[in-house]
Symmetry: D5
Subunit: 111 residues, 10 copies
């Protein structure tokens, strides 16, 4: 579902940061919506992620039930499978729930 | 008292940040309330901390007398015992008292 | 409970602002703690509010169940009764609950 | 759908501000999600809005297609019908679309 | 060029704010590009401005030479002609040139 | 003690703002130091306040015991006596004491 | 020295704000440099101020000795004489001297 | 096109940061303009980049179609070719498109 | 003069930060007051610093003449002598004097 | 021209930061003034820099023509010659010129 385009500078080790402040999914326990800002940083390999398809991929979570910790790991796995980067990391900053603000961070390869 | 759930990505080394700005306990000398923001960062092992139980754990300090330095070490010990993380750290940012602002930081394993 | 001292400039129309970021009471429905910053602005009459007693008055709500809208009106009534100001207003900025942030504002005399 | 509770200070003219940063609906032209922060300010009459039901009312727009200008007027109408305030106003701050940020503000009674 | 859609609440006096941080035109003296954030506030009449067409209208200035003071008045005239609002105002915040930052504000009807 | 110089534009109604963030005096009850930022705004008459003498005047409070509300009124009286302005106002923003932040504002002529 | 150009919208009552953060002159008592941000707001008449000439006018103060209060009134007089605006106001925010920050504001016509 | 001047301290290892917030090019897919802040940091060799020519180089992209990832690598290549620095890095912070903010970072020599 | 209490977690390597924004002493050359924010970070040994006594220690400098660089080293020496920490560092951020802002930082053991 | 005083703690490795936001010189090409904030950090040897003389040294550049990159290296050389620090670094943050903001950083000993 995440599409890619050719990286014209595949021999260069450079970094792309993507920030999506409009991520939303559903709490699997309460059915209430959760909101997050998703930040991805990756060093491209031979492919770049196509941003429009990435946006649609994020939107596909809109009615999906998912725990904070698991959805971030799932997105990272899908992202890495799609564009096979040299390195990638992801941060999900979720809105306050019950007075608690939660942020989940994961990286590929796993440190 | 702090409950846990299974980590679906136990083989991954990833990080969870939790911020609770509504911590309050009581000064053991004056009996007056103290307020703090508690920040916990941990790398999960086989378990994730369940946030609702963590909130109730924090609330249980509401009428407890405790020095700043000691309460932060106590919370870290309880947190580590509950979820056995690979690593964990805690910061407690206390409100101004007598013109002095105090922050206490501890880590597991102790550096 | 709120004590007063003499205003040495009773003939002057001047303003005193008081900000107390550490107000806490209890939600009457859930029993969970609520937190607020209380801001009072008043034009003194013959008396000034004594701040230490005001702090203890605020702390007396710590284990009291109260709706946001009602506790703010109650504090204003008590404040006016204690120091009989020319004018007074109060704002209570409560922490996020269920994704909603609530602020309640009242004034004496009621506009 | 928006529930109310009795205002214990109905004779007082005071103000309640409510801020909900997690509003989302769907663009009726593209089907893509829109996001907004909704701010309501009202002077209660005999009734106060019950916040939990207000949150569920906001969430009911999650999969509804609606233009920015119209959804804000619709929410104001529903809010006024539910709690019959002395005065009410609403602001909807929508996220950037096509490089343009839009904010819609309405008031009751219409000025 | 600026298109409109029907206002479903034409009898209501409400306000729409539009912010476009990516306006650019060309300095008529030096030929160098100028940049501005354009902010429009209007009270709709029977029509609402369609945002996509407004964006394209803004973009049409990309290679046009225009003084700061004049381009803002021109945009306001075109905007008013297109949607015939009850009221409208415009602010153009231009980037620093020669150490001077310039902002131009105009309103309809002219005060 | 506050010195003045001639105002070369006595027929003009213009405003001078002065901000002094380093005011300190002593609490008359505890003997502990208090700190404040003092802000004065005045419309000069025939005289302007000389800033160096004003600074020394502020410093003269360093070891003086004074309540917040009274010291601000005293400074305003001295300031008005020294330079006979058309109008003057003063704000004293005091540091947090016992979790409470106090600001005192007064004006000449008294509103 | 301040040059003007024709206002193409002389019948419109609109506002131009100019901010120049790099004003410097010399203290007439100590010979040390003073620094200020100058902000001018004016409603043009038949003429607009040409910005490059205004910048050179500001620079002409670089080695001139001038009190804060007087230089701001002088600039306003020169500005009004040059472009004969419907209204104009000026604010000069000077850097900290002896721990005191001074701002001077004047307007034409004098209120 | 990027011109250089002699570095008078070629034996010193020091750093120059350049920030250009007014970069604009065109999206090769939609033809719509893109905007970015470009930040360059370099350690000069025998030459310094002449800033006016660098500005004109940036402006030359105004009507050029280019993907975010590729234009940043292209600018870095041109910059390095022009001034042969000891080290250089570039960051391009692009405006929000489709709710996604993208930043691209590259360095010479490629890490 | 700086008192200590027992550290209940002496085997743990954890950190305490203390911030005191109300430090004041006197310039030994001019006799004018100086102001600073003092920040101390230390890793406790067997003792914790008692905050009330630390505040009184800070206040004891109120009428003492001291250069910025020397007073910070003196406070660090006294602090280390009192509580014998594993590590300690101190930062003193002094107010602007003559347009210059000075910060002094020292550490134990000296790096 | 930069004077020094004895460092009473010469055996300690500690750091002094100095920030001067009012630096100005002249562009050697256009003759127009340039403005910068100068930040110096140094680890003193046997001498401390006397701040008043440093201020006068900075002011001596007021009518000197100098390129950004060169003036920063020159100041560092003079500073090191005057006080012979263990280490020193300097940052000059210059105002926007032609839409470009430039910062120059150098260090002793050169890395």
């Amino acid at each position: 579902m995440i599409e890619v385009v050719d990286n014209q500078y595949p021999e260069k080790v450079y970094t792309v940061n993507i920030e999506f402040p409009e991520f939303t999914c559903v709490c699997p326990k309460t059915g209430l919506p959760d909101f997050a800002t998703i930040k991805i940083e990756y060093v491209p390999g031979k492919k770049l992620v196509e941003l429009k398809s990435l946006k649609l991929y994020f939107i596909s979570y809109r009615n999906v039930g998912a725990f904070h910790e698991h959805v971030i790991n799932k997105i990272l796995d899908d992202f890495v499978a799609a564009c096979q980067p040299r390195r990638a990391s992801i941060v999900g900053e979720f809105g306050v729930r019950g007075g608690i603000r939660t942020t989940v961070s994961a990286a590929y390869p796993s440190k």
